[in-house]
């Protein structure tokens, strides 16, 4: 396959970037999208040019490191697929592909396709600890968890924090990410003691980071490689409003 890629090139956070056009020959349909970029980078290095910087780690769809906007879709627009799991067979010979970094005020571009997702880490940090005993392992079944709650908590906990929700959202909102993180602890008994302060602090941090607000359009959930449901945003709203109305206190 022969492919033309229009890649966002930006030297560093301070300089202005631009789209640069590259031709990539000898692309196998079995390559992943990142492997196609690897091939392009080898060509650039051979020509003495600077390789395109992009984030990646596990390349098996579970770490959340990779992620670029491909032809206008975060992670390329396939259902439940990260950029590393997107294969070139989903493109046609001669296709022109536009590749851009996540765009959000809270995710400044560091270089080329790499953005700083530290805002997500700060939201997690704002959530604080849970009151789980450390030391020897607890007795099995000492804390019963309803099957439905466990399933739902696990659905939320699947979030890998890749940032596709922010990238796909027309408002660059981080509500789906925050909803997933608030819900997966909020649904479990171990997460109850700090449930109210956690949601208040995480939402306050989310707003401080400069993400936009949620208008319930649903593009986040559609772009999410882990298919985190939009209903978690409803749950986050419920938790936040409840915590606010009770003054963040767990005692009446």
């Amino acid at each position: 396959m022969k492919i033309t890629v229009n890649v966002w090139r930006q030297k560093n956070a301070k300089t202005k970037g631009t789209i640069v056009k590259y031709n990539v020959d000898h692309v196998s349909p079995d390559m992943s999208f990142l492997e196609m970029l690897d091939v392009l980078n080898q060509q650039l290095i051979a020509r003495g040019e600077e390789a395109i910087a992009f984030d990646h780690d596990c390349r098996e769809g579970i770490c959340g490191s990779c992620g670029v906007v491909i032809n206008g879709y975060a992670h390329g627009g396939q259902q439940a697929t990260t950029t590393c799991q997107l294969h070139m067979r989903s493109f046609k010979d001669g296709d022109e592909i536009t590749v851009e970094p996540w765009r959000a005020k809270a995710f400044p571009v560091i270089k080329d396709l790499v953005v700083d997702r530290g805002a997500f880490d700060r939201i997690i940090r704002a959530g604080g600890f849970i009151s789980a005993g450390t030391g020897s392992a607890p007795d099995a079944n000492s804390t019963p968890v309803a099957k439905e709650s466990a399933d739902l908590a696990f659905d939320a906990a699947q979030c890998i924090g890749c940032g596709a929700c922010v990238a796909a959202c027309p408002n660059a909102s981080a509500m789906l990410f925050t909803a997933a993180k608030v819900s997966h602890l909020g649904l479990l008994p171990q997460g109850q003691p700090e449930r109210k302060t956690r949601v208040l602090n995480m939402v306050a941090q989310m707003d401080t980071e400069g993400f936009g607000g949620c208008t319930n359009i649903g593009e986040c959930s559609a772009a999410c490689p882990k298919e985190i449901g939009l209903h978690f945003i409803g749950r986050l709203n419920r938790d936040l409003l409840g915590a606010s109305l009770t003054g963040g206190s767990s005692v009446d």
Binding site: G218, E219, G234, S244
Partner: protein
């Protein structure tokens, strides 16, 4: 106190205000639409209903009290709704300072993507509508206390106005199709089980209110109401 501040400062708190004020107006437009249907019972019934709205509650309270309480509640709701919309829109726009060269959506509805513009159209319409049928300033031949004639003359003398009304209520229907569901989601009332029901309620609201409101100008244009 810290929690109350978080609520006001947070995007979610602002959206909750947006949702509550929207639901007040949602209730109003339903009652308004049902009231409009009195026009099909003839001039006497319609004018009597209009008069009833002015004196409802009398003699328990002075004439016009209830009317003005409702007007003030609606005005405050409208101001809050628009104010929150402006604040949130500014936040949303500032959330992405550098635009994508190429951006596409996967599933976003037309209604959800145009909610703000639809809201602007409705706001413009509300102002015009008050000048047209309440104060009469934008009406060619306004007669105080005779709303039936005002409606018929308002639409037959200027058929373009009737077309504008139909377009405006289409914008209202579209706004509600996303807005009603979104308000329920924002208030945290939605969950996996209720989602289909709430989306259904929103769709039904949009369609019924559009058809219900459009019926009046269409009937006048067709000569059914004259």
């Amino acid at each position: 106190m810290a929690a109350a501040l978080t609520l006001y400062r947070s995007t979610i708190g602002k959206k909750a205000i947006m949702a509550l004020s929207g639901i007040i107006w949602y209730g109003f437009v339903i009652v308004h639409m049902i009231g409009n249907f009195k026009i099909f019972e003839g001039a006497e019934a319609f004018n009597k209903y209009s008069h009833f709205l002015r004196e409802v509650g009398y003699p328990a309270v002075p004439e016009g009290t209830i009317l003005w309480v409702i007007r003030i509640v609606l005005l405050v709701s409208l101001v809050m709704h628009v104010l929150m919309a402006i604040q949130l829109t500014r936040l949303d726009v500032s959330g992405r300072p550098v635009a994508y060269k190429k951006k596409r959506t996967k599933q976003a509805s037309f209604a959800s993507m145009t909610l703000r513009y639809g809201g602007l159209a409705i706001l413009f319409f509300v102002v015009y509508h008050l000048l047209h049928f309440t104060t009469g300033a934008a009406h060619p031949d306004f007669e105080y206390g005779n709303p039936y004639n005002n409606v018929v003359i308002g639409f037959t003398a200027q058929p373009l106005t009737a077309v504008f009304y139909i377009v405006a209520v289409a914008a209202l229907g579209t706004h509600l199709y996303h807005g009603v569901w979104s308000a329920l989601q924002t208030l945290g009332l939605n969950n996996r089980r209720s989602d289909k029901l709430f989306r259904g309620v929103a769709l039904l609201s949009g369609v019924v209110l559009f058809l219900g409101f459009a019926m009046v100008p269409v009937s006048v244009l067709l000569g059914i109401v004259k």
